[in-house]
């Protein structure tokens, strides 16, 4: 008796897999030849010379072809086998309990992060890890959550969000330097000013939708940046503003003086104190953003934002003043960017228009889109992946051993960015978290698939 081969096992065609891999390799040669194969170098007489990097090109092509071969021989059959099977109840139960406990665990980790860092790398290396990873990521988490109100909830595509970030940063920098106001006074003021600019942007764009709205907000972001560059008497143009007062701990500065934080509390002076303090400030600000957004979603104003995204005409037919709804969305989004901006200025001590380019807007928007529009946890995960990912590229020194000493991983930031975007487009076209939590529960909690949710037409 001949045993039937199990029907679930997909057929693996080795010849075809090799053909596929060869084709992918050929494509990679075509694509990477101009990008990686050639390089222009300035020689000692200041002339440009064409240099070639064949080994590096070979590496890239080999990675692509090998990856494709691995995919067709191993990964694709494995995925096909898995697709046939329902996930086992134990896995499903684990996933459910994980998603239920995720938020408290994540919160505890965020609060304990500086302590963990000091435990693992000691006081010496802690500044880098807390500042580059902790503070930097949290700023973007906060910006992502702020933009999420405008794009994710209200469905208004805003490509100039960095303008409000800049308004917050310059408000703090100029007011603190000129009048000597404290950080804690200027933080709400910077937020209010950014919210005011949000309303100012909101008025002219009220009638615009979709692509047209996106273009005008993009222009708004550029206008603010150009003003910062050209209004030299106030903003000092390209040179930027330096020597911005740093925030103090209840009036106690973080310096080595006798009145400094370390001396007051009888500690040895180290720059980590200030970094840890700033870390907890941005944790507080980010949590405030999250709390307010969660609250607002359950209030009529937040529900009106989402209703506006779903159907503006129906909103008007239900007696909702859509003008106010749009303006509050722009104002709230702008306010949180203003908070983040003033924190940014206080942390850096130096700001210039370089920090507020369109690329920043694009980064924040891609965090929101990657995370899943409207999802807070998704946005946080996307910010960690995107910002943490680019920061971690600086740490990958071992790649130099593989590709040669002149290989700089940070130069491949945009390539990886694009790769991440393509992967998300293929597997999760509506972002990492593709479900929507209803803002109000009648009897039982049920998430709504994003397929039903509108993306908003502006």
């Amino acid at each position: 008796m001949v045993a039937e081969p199990p029907a679930s096992k997909p057929h693996v065609d080795v010849v075809r897999a090799i053909k596929d891999a060869a084709l992918a390799g050929l494509l990679a040669v075509g694509l990477f030849l101009p990008l990686i194969g050639f390089q222009t170098v300035t020689n000692i007489r200041n002339e440009l010379e064409l240099d070639t990097r064949w080994p590096l090109l070979a590496w890239f092509v080999a990675i692509v072809a090998g990856g494709r071969l691995l995919y067709s021989l191993a990964l694709a059959p494995w995925l096909a086998r898995r697709a046939g099977k329902a996930p086992s109840p134990r896995v499903a139960a684990f996933a459910a309990s994980f998603s239920r406990r995720f938020t408290p665990f994540a919160l505890a980790f965020v609060v304990l992060y500086p302590i963990l860092v000091i435990l693992f790398v000691g006081l010496g290396g802690a500044v880098k890890w807390i500042d580059n990873f902790g503070i930097q990521i949290l700023i973007y988490v906060m910006l992502g959550w702020g933009l999420n109100i405008v794009v994710g909830l209200a469905g208004l595509l805003d490509l100039g969000y960095v303008a409000f970030y800049a308004v917050g940063a310059y408000s703090y920098a100029l007011l603190a330097k000129t009048f000597g106001f404290s950080f804690w006074l200027l933080l709400p003021l910077a937020g209010t000013l950014a919210a005011f600019w949000g309303i100012l942007l909101g008025f002219p764009v009220l009638r615009l939708r979709g692509d047209y709205l996106a273009i005008v907000t993009l222009a708004f972001g550029e206008i603010v940046r150009l003003i910062l560059i050209n209004w030299v008497p106030v903003t000092n143009g390209y040179a930027g503003i330096s020597g911005i007062p740093r925030p103090t701990f209840l009036g106690i500065p973080f310096n080595a003086s006798d009145e400094g934080f370390a001396a007051t509390f009888g500690l040895e002076f180290t720059p980590v104190h200030r970094t840890i303090f700033l870390y907890y400030v941005i944790v507080g600000l980010a949590l405030l953003t999250a709390y307010v957004t969660v609250r607002l979603r359950r209030l009529p104003v937040g529900r009106a934002w989402e209703a506006l995204r779903e159907d503006e005409i129906a909103c008007r037919a239900l007696g909702i003043n859509t003008t106010n709804v749009k303006l509050t969305a722009f104002a709230m989004g702008g306010m949180f960017a203003g908070f983040a901006g003033s924190f940014f200025a206080a942390r850096q001590g130096f700001i210039s228009p370089e920090s507020f380019t369109f690329l920043e807007s694009a980064t924040i928007l891609s965090i929101v889109v990657l995370g899943g529009m409207g999802s807070q946890i998704g946005v946080a995960i996307a910010a960690i992946a995107m910002i943490g990912g680019t920061e971690i590229l600086r740490e990958l020194d071992f790649l130099k051993e593989v590709f040669g000493s002149d290989f700089d991983p940070t130069q491949y930031r945009m390539l990886l960015f694009g790769l991440a975007m393509v992967l998300i487009m293929i597997w999760k076209p509506r972002g990492l978290i593709a479900t929507r939590e209803p803002s109000a529960v009648f009897e039982r909690r049920r998430t709504i698939s994003v397929d039903l949710v509108k993306e908003g037409r502006g």
């Binding site: 607002l296 159907d311 239900l318 009648f442």
Partner: protein, 304 residues
Amino acid sequence: MTPASDAVLRVEHLTMRFGGLIAVRDLSFTAGRSEITALIGPNGAGKTTVFNCITGFYQPTEGRLALHHGDRAVWEEIEALTDRGDRSVRRPDGALFLLERLPDYLITRQAKVARTFQNIRLFPGMSVFENLLVAQHNPLMVASGFTFLGVFWPSAYGRAEKAAVEKARMWLDKIGLTPRADDPAGELPYGDQRRLEIVRAMCTDPVLLCLDEPAAGLNPRESTELNQLLLSIRDEHATSILLIEHDMTVVMEISDHVIVLDYGTKISDGTPDHVRNDASVIAAYLGVEDEEVAQAEAEVGLSP
């Protein structure tokens, strides 16, 4: 015919022009209080345009659209109000609104006119329950202290929200959708979406409910359920209904008053029985007898 003083809505000399096209020409009619008024007519007769004028989605080219609440004596102020250039008279015992002067959202919020759409406009990605809460936006906005109280004092707002939840429950029970309250509105079957849109409009506490083809695409059973819902809205909630409908069984069964439009003008106005036997209505829907055509052609000198 409704006596003018007992009308909830009075449309006078309404004309709507889109460039060279006159969609509605010098139309006047009244919709009676606690009555179901049907607006019928062949395709392209201008019915939806009239609706869009009443609910503020179009600004009428000419004409006056007056809506009235409460004490009938307020009607007497209509001329003074028109001349004054104001939008409304609001007294404790009644109010009068000139709809052509109000923006669309105030027509729902203040004048209490709610509407549904020919192609359903629910919020598909929001749950059924959320749809009904969005409809109660304005009272809830006040209850949440215009958001400030709601953000900083959640428990107080929670108590205020109870009334809204109860109203939603009442309407869900009425259309039998309570078990599906947490499902997304976009997942409901077509007939349920139609009825949900109607009760969502009712959650704004309207004085006049405008329904644009509520029975379109419904099967006979759903159509009967719809009739019962509309009759109960008229009888139990003191809401007058103005509806556009193509389904003549619905129109003849539940309407108290029928207005027939053709090419933007009114060709008949009266009880369902009167309209059913009106020669001009029959002509508009079915065409005229051959002899009449011959006679008309002879009059203009076309006949051989």
